[in-house]
């Protein structure tokens, strides 16, 4: 079948005589890749870049006539980030962690990230306004303020990280479970998750709440993950998801300490297989030297204590926190190898590929340039077996992978690397090749009808590393893994229209001065600040 493109969109047909023709026969054609969760821009990412010159100097990109220079490895500079995504056929990426006070920074960096469309999620789970309104049961007030915040920061979705824990970290503490009250605020993580889930519905946000659970990285935390999913079960309507649990591998640990740590993937998969209100992404681990960075301040401090590596912490007033620690995942470490197994177990045990998406929580589990490796593992039992043979014996014994025969098909890979993510994000013009879609297309030099990915996983890996063609908004930007044209994508943000806009009066301005150290008028990002804004208007129920 043929695809016709005009003016950046897929259309019914074009005049073949006048069109540029790309012969993709014998090749795999997919919508451009969509990455629902990758830390590529903003304060936390940039602190990571600054922290690690030793991560950069061996992985450089020389300036060409078409591209700017840059560096990798686990935290590439912005131009390099865009180019490397495009070379793999990706065209849309989501930056999942934006401290609202520093939103300008995130957007400045996104504007300097070429080749891809993007969006970003403001961190709202520990925002004082949210904590206070939810403590007082004022869901509609909370919704009005969240709507204002989404426009002020040009955000796309409500991001929640270790709800309640980040505020507790302001004084060096943490929360222990969903019902542990946040010091000084008298509200629990459960109330925060439920409250924001209700707010999300009231605002008709395109994506669900995007949640990094409490107790991340702690043995036994799969219980917290399940409880978090359960706590909004009653808020689901029909088959539509109401919560997205991100980088689920990191919250799927069984056991009571590092000695007894094992996989909780089976329990989580069982739950997800029987419930339709949840979506997940993997957070797959790669055996490499990478950098962990999340808004979960206390968790990152814990990682420093575990490894003794250098540690960056950045608490943001009134709102959130963040932490960065370099980390090496070793094959021979029983814990790391188990983590590697957990990510794949989740993807293979959850039957519906529309519920679990492929990510590494870049760069936490590994750099996004390792995606082709994950695709190979998902599609080939042999590939998994090969890696299993090299990992810690203890982990191999505990791993469920040897008993899992399932191998994802090319169609399922398309779902977990693009279609599913686009659907979860409600980006109706992405992740598919139907008429009306954005002409974001990836062509891979592999013939799905001739190659058996189960055996030829190395060929699969190679093909996904270097797209034969990447087309962005109808223009060929990559050929044979080389950037041939530099373009800049759009930044999506959700323009929530409430029936009564939040009143900006002297009281609010005074509250601003009490809560933050910036004036009210300097907080919101003006529309003209973004270089390529693409607002998505949404009508709220409040």
């Amino acid at each position: 079948m043929d695809l016709a493109i005009r003016n950046g969109r897929i259309v019914e047909r074009v005049d073949e005589k006048k069109a540029e023709v790309i012969d993709a026969s014998g090749m795999l054609v997919m919508p451009g890749g969509v990455d629902i969760h990758c830390h590529i821009a903003g304060a936390e990412v940039n602190s990571g870049r600054l922290l690690r010159p030793e991560d950069h100097f061996r992985d450089v990109e020389v300036k060409t006539a078409v591209t700017r220079s840059g560096v990798g490895y686990s935290i590439p500079s912005t131009f390099t980030t865009g180019y490397r995504y495009a070379r793999m056929g990706y065209t849309t990426v989501m930056n999942p962690s934006m401290p609202p006070l520093e939103a300008r920074h995130t957007h400045e960096e996104l504007d300097d990230t070429p080749m891809v469309d993007k969006a970003t999620y403001p961190l709202l789970g520990d925002w004082w306004f949210v904590l206070e309104h939810l403590r007082d049961g004022q869901i509609e007030e909370c919704a009005a303020h969240v709507a204002w915040m989404m426009s002020a920061t040009k955000g796309y979705a409500i991001k929640i990280v270790n709800p309640g824990g980040l505020e507790a970290w302001g004084f060096g503490r943490n929360v222990k479970n969903l019902d542990d009250s946040v010091p000084y605020f008298n509200v629990t993580p459960r109330e925060i998750v439920r409250g924001l889930c209700k707010v999300n519905k009231l605002l008709n946000m395109p994506h669900t709440i995007h949640v990094h659970t409490n107790n991340l990285g702690k043995p036994g935390n799969y219980i917290t993950a399940l409880e978090t999913m359960k706590c909004v079960e009653d808020l689901a309507e029909g088959k539509r998801p109401v919560i997205h649990i991100t980088h689920c591998q990191f919250c799927a640990f069984k056991g009571s300490d590092w000695q007894t740590m094992s996989s909780g993937a089976e329990e989580i998969a069982k739950y997800v297989n029987h419930h339709d209100h949840v979506t997940l992404d993997m957070g797959q681990v790669i055996f490499t030297d990478t950098t962990t960075m999340t808004a979960d301040g206390p968790f990152q401090y814990g990682l420093y204590n575990l490894t003794g590596n250098k540690w960056v912490n950045h608490d943001v007033e009134t709102e959130t926190s963040s932490g960065i620690v370099p980390f090496r995942y070793k094959r021979k470490s029983a814990v790391h190898a188990t983590q590697w197994s957990i990510g794949l177990e989740l993807a293979l045990l959850i039957k519906d590929p529309w519920k679990i998406y492929m990510t590494t929580d870049h760069p936490n589990g590994g750099p996004f340039t390792a995606y082709p490796n994950i695709i190979a593992w998902l599609m080939s039992r042999v590939a998994r077996k090969k890696t299993l043979g090299k990992i810690s014996k203890r982990a191999r014994r505990k791993s469920l992978l040897p008993s899992i025969d399932r191998e994802l098909s090319f169609y399922e890979i398309a779902v977990v690397t693009r279609a599913g993510q686009a659907k979860a994000l409600n980006l109706t013009q992405k992740g598919h090749l139907g008429v009306g879609a954005d002409a974001d297309i990836a062509v891979y030099g592999i013939n799905p009808e001739q190659i058996d990915p189960s055996k030829k996983y190395k060929t699969v890996r190679r093909a996904f590393r270097r797209a034969a063609y990447t087309i962005k908004d109808g223009e060929i930007v990559v050929k044979n893994g080389q950037i041939v044209k530099s373009v800049f994508g759009k930044t999506f943000w959700v323009d929530v229209k409430t029936s009564l806009p939040m009143e900006v009066n002297d009281d609010l301005k005074q509250k601003f001065r009490e809560y933050w150290t910036v004036e009210y008028e300097n907080y919101p990002i003006p529309d003209r600040f973004l270089h390529f804004p693409a607002p998505i208007p949404v009508k709220a129920e409040v």
Partner: protein
Amino acid sequence: MITLSPKHIFKVPVEAECISPDVFAEKSTKEIAMLQIWEGNRKRTIGDFFKIKHGTDSSSEEITIRISGDVGKVRRIGAGMSIGEIIIDGDIGMHLGEEMEGGIITVAGNAGSWVGSMMKNGTIEVKGNAGDYVGAAYRGSTRGMGGGTVIVHGNAGNEVGCFMRGGLIKVYGSVGEFVGIHMRKGTIFVQGNSEGRAGAEMTGGKIVVCGWVPSIVPTFTIDSIRPKVKINEETITGPFYMFFGDLAEDGNGRLYVSQTQNPHLAFYEKYL
């Protein structure tokens, strides 16, 4: 033996990583002349800057490169080399023998900073002075020199052996501040004086200073007085105050400081 003589004085930095026995092995004079080097932001060739005289030997095991003339601005000579010998008749620039894995480099004059940084094996001998960061790690990295030997007959600068994790550095002159900072393993020997803060934040390894030090970092604790100390096979006669540290890092490094040259440290003896 291949001899390179610079044709003129260099002003902007010149980077000549290709001047290495590994790269020159089995290449003709013409091929060597075509090797690329950087002069600032311009790509040049060895032939642009050096007169090349090719000796008669061609066995790659005995490749010797001799550089005669002022190469004080030429950087990264011998970087990554693993075989052969480089002899420099004058001064040499930064990053000499960086990450080298074997072979020998000898410098008749002074060397710039970062001599033998991140080296894994091999020997570098500087007859004159060396700059800062001898055997050090790259910024942000904890992987400094891991093996091999660096000998400096003159003085060396600050932070000698920063993040060192193996090998031997010997300075017959004096060193600046922070010799052995963040050291993990390995040995540093200083015959002359140290400007201060020797062994700061070390977690392992051995530092011997035969000369004067202004003070000892307060997070070190005196262990004993040693009559002598061993540097690989060599025995150095003391007596030395031996300190353990850096306790702020829970470190197990050993710092030997001459007793006779440092009478102002005598107050430590009351703790013995």
